[in-house]
């Protein structure tokens, strides 16, 4: 699904990622954990194509293609989805409009006709119920005046409708109370599939209580310093990050 090889990335001439190696197979859930400033967000941004980063070395291959060569919207149409830590508010555009525009962009990319209006509504309303959202949400402006929990739920709703192959969840648990966290986690779990992979970027282990990762990687100072199974997250919760921060990159 995704293969990151010796990736080095600069922001304003400062090296943020210092040689990342990561292999993600279809159906796997990987958690990227690490302290603030470790490069977690940079990694999720570089995968989704945000501007302002300079790749100085290494490669990212997604489904056999060079991901870094693709414009952000092409990555999205090819199945890469970033659930934002801070979803943007867009007054003046309704949620349902954005969903329709996004879904039809994917369909066009794959040479398919526009989605039928009735089928679309049925699809969207089903997903809305799944995420325990009010249908009125669909007709409100994108994220405008939404609470933190509502915004994150909305990200997962988009994910559920667009059915990506590689889902990157950037600090999805931040700003969520326990009830919202459960709903979001259930939404993510319901999307688990043999051909869909997840990368969860998170500072805390909390989210991993509800979405069990197959692999946990610890990012510190721009390098993956330790990798392990789900149990590594628990160890981190107990010990913190400091014992790992000075380690050399895991090989």
């Amino acid at each position: 699904m995704l293969s990151i090889k010796n990736l080095t990335v600069n922001v304003n001439d400062k090296q943020i990622l210092k040689g990342i190696n990561l292999e993600i197979k279809p159906g796997e859930i990987h958690a990227i954990m690490g302290p603030n400033g470790s490069g977690k967000s940079t990694l999720s941004h570089i995968l989704s194509g945000k501007a302002g980063y300079t790749v100085t070395g290494g490669s990212v291959t997604y489904q056999g293609k060079d991901l870094l060569e693709m414009a952000p919207e092409i990555r999205a149409r090819e199945g890469v989805f970033l659930a934002f830590q801070y979803p943007v508010e867009i007054p003046g555009v309704s949620n349902i409009y954005l969903l329709k525009a996004a879904l039809n962009s994917i369909r066009k990319h794959h040479g398919q006709p526009e989605v039928d209006a009735m089928d679309f509504l049925t699809l969207v309303k089903g997903k809305v119920r799944l995420l325990e959202m009010d249908e009125k949400f669909l007709y409100r402006a994108v994220n405008e005046g939404f609470s933190g929990g509502e915004k994150k739920r909305n990200e997962i709703l988009q994910m559920a409708i667009l059915e990506p192959k590689l889902c990157i969840l950037d600090e999805t648990d931040s700003g969520l109370d326990i009830d919202a966290l459960k709903v979001v986690a259930e939404g993510v779990n319901s999307l688990r599939a043999a051909d869909r992979s997840f990368v969860m970027v998170t500072h805390y282990q909390r989210l991993l209580d509800y979405i069990k990762p197959d692999f946990v990687h610890v990012l510190a100072n721009g390098q993956i310093v330790k990798s392990g199974g789900a149990e590594l997250a628990l160890e981190l919760e107990e010990k913190g990050y400091s014992w790992l921060e000075d380690s050399k990159a895991a090989v």
Partner: protein, 441 residues
């Protein structure tokens, strides 16, 4: 500017005066004479005047716009044209080239206690009532456009809604202009007595002609009454537009204004309101400029008494060589303690040659108030563009979508469905088609 050029208008006045309504009313004749004297001395407003410093109206002086005769143009107005602007589910009054047109107006079913009649008719039938309001929310000293309107107005509308009456449908005043070189100068008075509640829509449209539309509207919101006033200005792109809205709010009165300034070669709107004790106003505006349009919006919120609340949001989108002007003044009198005021002006420039001049002014003479203002002039937010890209939308489409969204936020505030759809359509024809799919909205 100079009395010399205005003198062409003044010279013509003696020919026009006998055709104006209310000739038999000494008070009105005196008022018009005073206005004429003022206008003759000053001419049209000049760039030297602080509140006109960004808007040069000398082109109006170089031309000579004259009032057209009644009924000259009815055959020019097709059913389709009328249907495209006349809103269903409203009581609709048509002012054709500055004259009330009974044939096109729809007033059936209006409650008997409500007066909606042409200004000419009101001056003939109930001049003593009109006299109570005319030139009371504004006067000839405001600036010479007001004086010009007072001297020259050929007709207009008089609306009176008695106490406690909630009007079930909005009243639409459709200003329709058809003639080259014509002046449509109208005076409208809107009165809502205590606890009444009305919605009025002023629509300005025209055929492809160079004309001058000069409308003054005086609004009186009674104690605890509600008036929502919409203005949809879609004048011809060759036209000159001046529209002044002057409001007196009694205590606890609420006034909401939505100003959509889309048309005209040169368009200026004044929206001035005086707030009494605990009254509230909301001023919303959207101006869209393309080509060489010049669109000026001038607002003044005058907090005269304590506990008033004002909210103002004006947004502008300017492309090509268009120029948008926003001057927003908030005045808080010494007596107006506990005033709560917010003013915001946001501009989006789509071209390097477009220009936005924005001047928020707070004048606060009280010491216990909450007043905020903010201004932005800029381009689209890169974060929003990336967000849409990450949702499969290409950059150009994202930019168009966000530009539309910026404007649509104001359109979404319209509570009247037919007007909302009309304003939306007007926004859409002014933006690139790529990026916004009408059918999905």
């Amino acid at each position: 500017m100079t009395a010399a050029t205005a003198s062409r208008y003044t010279a013509e006045y003696s020919n026009i005066a006998p055709t104006l309504p209310g000739q038999n009313l000494p008070w009105l004749t005196a008022l018009r004479q005073e206005a004429l004297t003022k206008f003759s001395a000053l001419g049209f407003p000049s760039l030297r005047e602080e509140e006109w410093r960004y808007t040069n109206v000398s082109a109006i002086e170089k031309k000579l716009f004259s009032p057209s005769l009644i009924g000259q143009a009815q055959e020019l107005v097709s059913t389709e044209l009328l249907a495209s602007y006349q809103l269903p589910d409203t009581w609709s009054v048509v002012l054709l080239d500055g004259h009330f047109c009974a044939e096109f107006s729809v007033l059936e079913g209006l409650p008997e206690t409500v007066s909606v009649m042409s200004m000419a008719e009101a001056l003939a039938k109930q001049p003593e009532i009109v006299a109570r309001y005319i030139n009371q929310a504004v006067n000839n000293d405001e600036h010479s456009f007001v004086a010009f309107n007072t001297a020259w107005f050929t007709d207009g509308l008089f609306v009176h809604v008695p106490a406690k009456l909630v009007l079930e449908k909005p009243i639409q005043v459709l200003h329709l202009n058809t003639q080259n070189d014509a002046l449509a100068s109208t005076r409208t008075v809107i009165v809502a007595e205590q606890m009444a509640d009305i919605k009025v829509i002023e629509t300005f449209v025209g055929l492809d002609a160079a004309y001058l539309s000069a409308a003054v509207t005086e609004v009186f919101v009674g104690p605890n009454a509600d008036i929502t006033l919409y203005k949809l200005q879609c004048e011809s792109d060759k036209a000159y537009h001046f529209g002044g809205i002057y409001v007196k709010q009694a205590k606890d009165a609420r006034f909401i204004h939505h100003n959509f300034a889309f048309g005209g070669l040169l368009a200026r709107s004044d929206i001035h309101t005086d707030l009494d004790l605990a009254s509230e106003c909301e001023l919303n505006g959207l101006y869209l400029g393309v080509n060489r349009q010049h669109i000026d919006n001038h607002t003044r919120i005058n907090h005269l008494k304590p506990h008033g609340i004002s909210r103002e949001l004006y947004k502008g989108v300017l492309d090509d060589r268009a120029r948008g002007v926003f001057q927003g003044r908030v005045i808080v009198a010494e007596d107006a303690q506990k005033t709560d005021s917010q003013m915001n002006n946001r501009n989006l420039l789509l071209s390097n040659d477009a220009e936005a001049d924005t001047k928020p002014q707070l004048e606060i003479y009280a010491d216990d108030v909450k007043c905020a203002h903010g201004v932005t002039v800029g381009q689209l937010d890169e974060k929003s563009i990336f967000y849409l890209q990450s949702r499969c939308i290409d950059e150009e489409t994202a930019r168009n979508m966000l530009t539309f969204a910026f404007a649509n936020e104001m359109v979404d505030k319209i509570k009247i469905k037919s007007l909302h759809d009309q304003a939306l359509e007007q926004v859409l024809i002014r933006f690139p088609q790529e990026g916004v799919n009408k059918e999905w909205l």
